[in-house]
Symmetry: C2
Subunit: 435 residues, 2 copies
């Protein structure tokens, strides 16, 4: 027996591949409506590309090795470094804003546990060269419209949105020293998942007063209108509130307002994001985050030598797939064949008459199958049934060589055609053609 697939890696049998194709096709369809262009890079890259961004500690999570040319290389764990390199190399000539997307397979050597794979596919959508919050609203709109295209609603999925600049202004307003902000972020990030006492303890340890500490703990569930009422007069916070309000009003015009929950506990990568950040979660909280992203205005400069504002998100196929299956929104979709052709092996011109019809039907775009060996008609019909063929076409060749085509229609009489052209014309007008 051959070795099994590696733990954490998936075989995609036609049933699983049909699900993957449904996800990929939906991603592409929606992202293209937003006029994003697809790109891709190598799945294997120099190891430096990743350590440059994430430090050496990332190596423990990578599939990295030394290749036969003595190069330290790694399977890509994320797309952003490749994206930054590609944009950086053509920063002068690319039309701005750059609106690109990609659907790479990514690899991480993680402990395999329930639902944790070592590979997944991830839609990456990025905008480079625009600092206006309208770009932030546009980006979230892409993610939300993708959810909608899968049949999910604002009842199923929430976009939890925060803003680094607003949060920083709040911390400044609360007179927390900038050197402590990272500690506060770390507490905020875990606020919903760890006991309140522990959060409090950590904030106190970071030098916050009990009073300020309780303000921070009050960020859980704080809605934007309440925040606006509380901090609208602060010189530091007011401009950030105004900008975030503008973002929300764009989101409203784009038709995604009902999906948004303001949530200051959404932190995401510490050294990475600089503005509005968001995560998409299922409303029941049953699954891990579906999607995450935000503005990372300084990253391209630090990675690629290109000082351009940028924002983007990543949306993986695994959690999304779990959610779609749980909500019964994943159609079972292995394409069935349009036409099964059958001809008696005893008839004249077997199988040529059938093959000619197959070629003609295929040229019109239909999918066609037939028995690849001489078999009794009953066997051929049985095969057609097992294949789930939409139509069965009996090719009849009379002893004088005249060929007719009988199409069996479910629940109807048969349809007869005297010429292959007539069959093909009928087929083109009748079938939903697989493209």
């Amino acid at each position: 027996m051959p070795p099994k697939p590696l733990p954490g890696f998936r075989d995609f049998y036609p049933e699983q591949l049909a699900e993957r194709a449904h996800i990929f096709d939906t991603w592409r369809r929606i992202v293209r409506r937003y006029a994003f262009q697809e790109y891709d890079g190598p799945p294997l890259e120099p190891l430096d590309l990743y350590t440059q961004k994430s430090g050496d500690e990332i190596v423990t999570q990578l599939y990295n090795f030394v290749d036969k040319g003595d190069r330290a290389v790694a399977l890509r764990p994320e797309m952003t470094p490749t994206f930054a390199r590609m944009v950086g190399a053509r920063a002068q000539t690319l039309r701005k804003p750059v609106r690109w997307f990609s659907m790479p397979q990514l690899f991480r050597y993680e402990r395999t546990q329930k639902g944790r794979l070592r590979e997944h596919f991830q839609l990456n959508v990025d905008i480079v060269g625009e600092s206006d919050v309208l770009a932030d609203a546009e980006l979230l709109s892409v993610a939300v419209e993708i959810m909608r295209a899968f049949g999910l609603t604002a009842h199923d999925v929430r976009a939890r949105v925060s803003d680094r600049r607003l949060l920083n202004a709040l911390l400044a307003h609360l007179a927390i020293e900038e050197s402590r902000w990272t500690d506060v972020y770390a507490v905020l990030d875990k606020l919903e998942r760890q006991p309140r006492e522990l959060s409090e303890e950590k904030l106190i340890a970071a030098g916050l007063s009990v009073e300020v500490c309780s303000v921070i703990l009050g960020f859980v569930g704080l809605d934007f209108e309440t925040l606006r009422a509380q901090y609208g007069d602060s010189v530091l916070v007011a401009p950030e509130i105004a900008r975030f309000a503008e973002y929300l009003s764009h989101a409203e015009a784009l038709g995604i307002a009902e999906w948004i929950r303001f949530d200051l506990t959404i932190v995401r990568g510490l050294a990475y994001y600089t503005g509005i950040v968001f995560e998409l979660f299922d409303a029941t909280g049953e699954f891990r985050a579906i999607c995450g992203g935000g503005r990372y205005d300084n990253l391209l400069a630090s990675l690629g030598g290109t000082d351009l504002p940028a924002l983007g998100f990543g949306l993986g196929d695994v959690v999304l797939g779990e959610l779609l299956r749980a909500r019964k929104l994943m159609p079972v979709m292995v394409a069935s064949v349009d036409f099964w052709l059958a001809q008696s092996p005893d008839a004249p011109r077997y199988p040529a008459a059938m093959l000619e019809a197959a070629t003609a039907l295929r040229s019109s775009g239909a999918s066609v199958e037939y028995g690849l060996r001489a078999q009794r008609m009953e066997k051929q019909f049985e095969a057609a049934r097992k294949a789930g063929a939409r139509h069965v076409v009996l090719v009849d060749v009379a002893s004088d060589g005249r060929t007719t085509y009988r199409v069996r229609l479910s629940g109807h009489d048969e349809q007869h055609f005297d010429r292959m052209e007539a069959l093909v014309q009928w087929a083109s007008s009748t079938t939903e053609i697989a493209t």
Copy 2:
């Protein structure tokens, strides 16, 4: 500056990705007409999967390493072992014949030279469970119809076809010992690329008489009808000739006869193929083989424990792409945006009126872009032009809040709409919608 991509690996900028997408889409479109179902496997597999099939010498050509769990692993250099494993694991329950295809990215650590990359994408099309030559004709038909779908003709591309069983029968008829066949194959394989004297020398060294040797050398350019006339009476060869003639008659009925050149020098993998084999070449001989495949009836048993006859081909994206570009058959196809929206930043309801129209047009399936920051109208029109937008829609909001939409049509008067619904309806009926 970030590190460059590894040598032999490609970045796919939107222009290159559009070419790749053209290739992928055409592959899928044609293969589906033949009712093949798509599958995929992991790009990283246990090293054993490949050494089991190809021996330890394959390792010098692989991207192989030891992962963090101490497993010897390799990036997939070919798809067949994964295919054999997957079919083997479900051999009992899969409907036969299995008709599957895949489009994996494959990796080989080869010396990089002109046109030799270390990764490429390869369409794999396989049929499992059918020994009849009709399956062989069907398989070649898929490959040829793919060429046709790209705009290539029988003048551009030749399918060079041989038959291992016919060749074996010929060697047996010529009384060449079976132990020498491998040597003869090796000479045949190089017959067109090495001096005739060297071929002769090698055949003599393999123990062939001068007479038999000249028969073998005469296989170059030997057409099937001449062969049939010469060997039709041989008890050993006649059945194989009959079977091959049947194959050709199926190919004729499938409409691909004019593409086929009978060519006994097509050998392909020695330990692998058992029947009809073929390679697709451009007619000028300028490029390496475009596609190769054939029948490998014993391989699944040796790899997967599944004793089923099988046949398949691999068709890569690199040589095909070179050929299409050389024949000017590679369209330049980065999708341009359907609608560019513009609104005066001084008008009421900027940008909300424009965003609402964007969402409505996108919901109808159109691709839509607009300026992501407030800009003068001239700037907005310039951006539309640079983006190559098919239509520009001016969103006008009067001081009373009434919104109208003016669509600029190239070479025509403008078209006016008083309601967004009317605009969307017009858009749906007018534009070729990117799906």
